[in-house]
Each structure stands twice: as structure tokens, then as C-alpha cells.
Symmetry: C2
Subunit: 207 residues, 2 copies
DNA sequence: TTTTATTGATTGACCGTTCAATAAAAAATA
DNA sequence: TATTTTTTATTGAACGGTCAATCAATAAAA
């Protein structure tokens, strides 16, 4: 029953099937045969719509990345010029959105992280995401803190978010979202309030 | 020139070659043929000394894990009953030891993390390491903080360490060890000093 | 009739494992 | 000491299996 306009439908189906396959089998065992079977199509379709397996994997990572960006942006757009703290909490909440904390998505992220170290296209995608998070955090901290402190706070919070996330992905009991958010909130509060006794490195420390 | 006692020599060689291969090619392309070639032996040797590829990978992860444990323990053993802060700094320093922050080891860690999600033996190893870090941090914070705060501080610092580490591994410019250590130190200080205004969740928050 | 969608068998490459063969040291024997 | 025998170490070709990609064939709109 080939009609016109199958492309977006098939692409969605196959990306979803890829996420499921990586969740259940891992990236190494997520073969195009298994992905195609899960999507209910033949293997040839993958090459037809994605130019091979690499294209499918890249599109899948793009999808997860877009979902993350949307989860953050939706929460922030309602805030207007609310205080920095509100924006920082919104960024945290977005990063721990349901769409990003499901078992399958966390596993996929981890797989893509590892894979991106040896695959330039994935590395670029991953880098864009990294810098966006840092840049968002940094500009919010900058509204309240001097430049150097804002930078360190952003680096620290980014590490905290990724670390909570990583440990949640690895832990058999999964990620406790509420607890993770609270720890990140605590870090934000500590950064925003007590700024005076902080370590003040010289510029050469950052060579 | 086959003599006796080749086993420990070959095992060391092959584990080293595995680290190098994962660094250069990634886990997916680190085939036994390539690993064997890099070690200057034939492929058969791997099965002979490691019972196949899985055994070699497990042994490699064990090696990296043992190095990490040693890096931490060496720093702590000199401290005796020094203040909690000193022990926490030693744990941080151990986690950012030179043996753990080389490009090849960080890549290998990341690969093993991803792989451990679908490979029970690796998952067990990874879990032991995770719990050891948390347990070490927790017991030191416990010397100074009430139970719940100590637990949260340990969870937060563990996430911070892993997060700094992860972001260092992913960043093209690599990990800035001094900066990472300083951010972790700052977190320790904030946890140890300002304990009164902290968020106090009810037990149900931790369900 | 042309275009779009889809199949799935085929192909060629590569993977990990196995194992018979070989070599050299160590141990046993004369 | 000189010799066989046993043990340990090692090789690499062969094997069975799996993978991603290809492409001729087919089917149903347009």
C-alpha cells in the first residue's frame, strides 16, 4: 500500500524502534535486522530512508537531543524575566524531564556518548548539546554572580546534572528524579547565596 | 622461547593492548585480531589466557578499577585520623589521579559504562566501584554531618566527581584536572560549613 | 505510464573461536 | 651427563556465524 508521504512516518517508526532496540539489546546488538523487525518493515527500508545504519543512529540521537531542548525551552518560555534561580530550576527540571529519564533514553544517551568518541558526526551533535547547557547555565548565573564565579557555578552545575544522570542510568534501581532535582537545586542555592568565601583562583589557574 | 610463567606477562601485555585499541578505535572496533597484533602475539593466545574476548575485556576493566582503588587508597593511608575534609580531598585527588585521567583510560571507562548496561559481569564490577565511592564519601561526611545531610552530600559529591569526569572525557579539549579538583573541593567546603539552611525533605521524599 | 514504496535473497567482508601442529623448555630417565 | 618424555607456550588456517549493504523484482498509487 505505498502512498505518498511515507517518509516521515517511517522515519518516526524506525527511530522509535532504534530506541527500543538499544534499550533491550544495547547498541552493539541493535542490528538493522532487529530494528527493522521491531518496526515491522524490511531491512531495505533503512537504507532507503536513512542512507544506512549510521544515518539512522545519527537521526536517533538528533531526536533525543531535540526532545531535551524542547523540554528545557518549554519550561523556560513561561518564565519571562523571572529571577535567575527560577530559570536555573527550569533548566534542571528540563534535563530531568520524563522524556529524558526513561530507561531507554538514558541507555541510549550513554551508548551515544561512548560511541561519539570515535564517530565525528555524533561527536558534533553531542558537543552542541554540551555547550548549549553550559551557555544557558552560565548566562543565568551571570545575572547574579561575577564572571568567574558564574563560570565555575555553571561548570559545577553542568557536571552535577550530568553526574546525577549518569549515576541514575548506571544504578540498577534507576534514577530517583525527585532526589536528583533536589540535589541540583541545593547546589544552585549554595552558589547563589554564599559567594564571598569562595576560592578565588588567579587567571593562570585556568591556563 | 616458551618458558614457564608467561601467563602474567602475556596478561599484562594484552590488557595494555586492549586499552590502547579501545582508545584508538573504540570498543566496537577493538577486535581480538587487532588487539593481538598490537600486543605482538597471535589471536589464539587470547583464548588461551583469558577464555575468549569477554574474559579479556573483564580483566581489562578489573585492571582499571584496581588502579583507581589504589590511587585513592595510597593517598588516604597516609592520613590516619586526619579531619574528614582531608580524607574527602584525598578521595577526590585519587579519582583525578594521572592514572585515571589519561585519554585512553577515560575512553575505556566510558565504553565499559555503556557496555555494562547489557553485560552482567561488567555491571557487577561497575556496581562495586560505585558503591565503594559512595560508601567512602558517606562515612567521611558522617563524621561531621547528621545522617541525612551526610548521605545527600555523598550523593552530590559522587555525582559531581563522575560528572566532571564524564564531561572531561567528552570534551575535545580534555579534562582540566586542576579545575575539576577545585570545583569538587568547593562542593566539599559548602557541604561541610553551611548545614543549617539546607533543604530538609521528609522521609517520603526518598520513597 | 510513471513514480514512489517496499521486499528479502544475495553478496562480500569480517568476527570470535577452535584446534591440529609446532617448538622449546623442563622433568624424568638412563 | 646424555637421552627421552612431558609440559607449557604459541601459532594461524579453517570454520560457522553474523552483519550491513545492495539491488532486481514487485506492487500500488498517481
Amino acid at each position: 500500500m505505498p502512498k505518498l508521504g511515507m517518509q516521515p512516518i517511517r522515519r518516526r517508526q524506525l527511530i522509535q524502534a532504534t530506541l527500543e532496540a538499544i534499550d533491550e539489546l544495547g547498541l552493539a546488538d541493535a542490528t538493522i535486522a532487529r530494528i527493522a523487525k521491531r518496526a515491522g518493515v524490511s531491512t531495505g527500508i533503512i537504507s532507503h530512508y536513512f542512507n544506512g545504519k549510521d544515518g539512522l543512529l545519527e537521526a536517533t540521537m538528533r531526536q533525543v537531543l531535540a526532545d531535551l531542548g524542547k523540554a528545557v525551552q518549554e519550561r523556560r518560555s513561561a518564565l519571562g524575566d523571572a529571577p535567575a534561580k527560577a530559570h536555573l530550576h527550569a533548566i534542571i527540571d528540563g534535563n530531568f524531564d520524563r522524556s529524558q529519564t526513561s530507561r531507554s533514553v538514558m541507555k541510549t544517551w550513554l551508548a551515544f556518548w561512548a560511541s561519539s568518541m570515535h564517530h565525528a558526526p555524533l561527536q558534533r551533535l553531542q558537543r552542541v548539546n554540551d555547550r548549549r547547557l553550559y551557555s544557558n547555565l552560565s548566562s543565568q548565573f551571570r545575572r547574579v554572580l561575577p564572571k568567574r564565579q558564574a563560570r565555575d557555578a555553571a561548570r559545577g552545575l553542568a557536571a552535577m546534572i550530568d553526574g546525577l544522570w549518569l549515576r541514575g542510568a548506571l544504578a540498577p534501581e534507576g534514577l530517583n528524579v525527585d532526589r536528583a532535582r533536589q540535589l541540583a537545586y541545593d547546589y544552585v542555592r549554595e552558589q547563589l547565596e554564599g559567594g564571598t568565601q569562595r576560592h578565588q583562583p588567579r587567571a593562570s589557574d585556568y591556563a
